[in-house]
Symmetry: C3
Subunit: 203 residues, 3 copies
């Protein structure tokens, strides 16, 4: 898996994190912190779960990429208003990229294919979920239109095609699948059926 | 420690997580995610802290068990309303089982007995705490009747009896102790004394 | 790095955690849990990220120190009202100590100097951030006067001076820098410039 896919995912998520920080009115430190947490949170969780060395500890370029995405957003926002839905679209690219690179790294560590797909989901969604929890919100992954399902579909497609097709086809098809599902869900407000239990005495 | 105790704890916590997701009105993905997070969260934290391989990474049966508990709950809830307090009672079984298996695993990694009891507490409570934080709630562990104390008592009993009694006696007495304390606290609304500080200028 | 600096940081953060628990009206277990989580949370995250053995697992004295700080606070609060700003001042000492010991440990594991400074920031702030999230609050690190910046400045100063000055000078200057910046910010309400984005259709 080429390193620029990882760095691209970090940059997309870093920009999305900085936009989220701006919507919360955080200061410059908060913007950079949200950019870094959103950019590397999912991959960090993946590496901890796999017992792998955490990907940004030995390579300061990764955190620099996330911070640069955040700083560029901070500066650009003084001149241009981010267009409608821009955060969610940028976020969709980060989601789709991270889902496939996360699944690929898990396969490289010998994970079962089903676990590898879950690790793609984790890599794609945990950074944004930590950011949302830190902002005092229920994570988008539990609120928004088909979101985690898109990451899981992209990662699962990659894992399924991986033994049968030459690189980079599984990577491209996996990323395209995740991105297409997420963008379609976003633009057409597609949701999975809800499950609602009522029970007054419990929380 | 037989593996079915671990899987039993995962299943109980998975069901409790799915009921919590239903009370939040999450979709099918959210139900399965809450089932898995509640089911494996505590054991994952235990394994990360111990430096052990994370228990569900190499064995997809674990996640499958949590997801199956969640799916069964999702389906069953279309026909039967979960009875009053059902989530807390199911949760109490997960708590008591996980407290003992968590402490046992920590002892196996050479942890000090006091740390092993704490690891039982962590294993029993962290999954539910992550689920509560993701739902935007203060974790039950800090709000409910004697809860963490039950996990700690169960794990501590197991750790104390472990060098003196043959298996499976310490396991059974430890699980029974944790379960009895938690259920008594639940049905008689027992609480520890509260600590209240007033100080207007700080949060 | 002498071990009493680590234990001192744990004790300061444990007291600050117990005061926070008191303001939330938690019970005795909650006070001890908040003391331990605030006391060891940052160092735990540091050790997980570095792939180091978690510092309190093999040494029950660490958790005992945090719990003792919490218990002493719980008892003392029955006689004396903690003075105004006491929590934030005690917290500042924990922040400054942990920033330097965290950066030092990261350097010892061969981290890049920039990553070591970030690890100082993580060690100093993550315990309090977990405590705040568990209390249902946005972490102080994103709300308060210059806070993370103080930790980063202290850790960065230590990392920069470390190759050039003999011990314990870099340690003392690093701790002093972090503490001075945090206390000045606290007493003069200094803030970094805020970044505010408006965009009605996103969260």
């Amino acid at each position: 898996m080429p390193a620029y896919l990882d760095l691209g995912a970090v940059a997309f998520c870093g920009i999305a994190g900085a936009i989220a920080a701006g919507r919360k009115g955080l200061d410059l430190f908060g913007v950079l912190a949200f950019a870094c947490i959103t950019g590397v949170g999912g991959g960090t969780m993946r590496d901890l779960l796999l017992g792998a060395p955490v990907f940004w500890i030995e390579d300061p370029v990764v955190l620099g990429t996330a911070a640069a995405g955040g700083l560029a957003t901070f500066i650009a926002a003084h001149w241009i208003e981010p267009p409608r839905r821009s955060m969610r679209i940028i976020d969709a690219f980060g989601l789709a990229l991270f889902a496939v690179v996360g699944a690929d790294k898990a396969l490289g560590f010998g994970a079962h294919p089903a676990v590898a797909a879950i690790m793609g989901l984790v890599t794609g969604t945990v950074g944004g979920a930590i950011r949302d929890v830190l902002s005092g919100q229920i994570p988008a992954i539990f609120r928004r239109e088909i979101y985690a399902t898109a990451a899981l579909a992209g990662a699962g497609t990659f894992v399924a095609l991986h033994p049968h097709l030459d690189r980079p086809l599984p990577t491209l098809i996996g990323i395209g699948t995740g991105l297409a599902i997420r963008l379609l869900a976003l633009f057409f407000s597609l949701n999975l059926p809800r499950f609602t239990l009522h029970g007054g005495d419990e929380d």
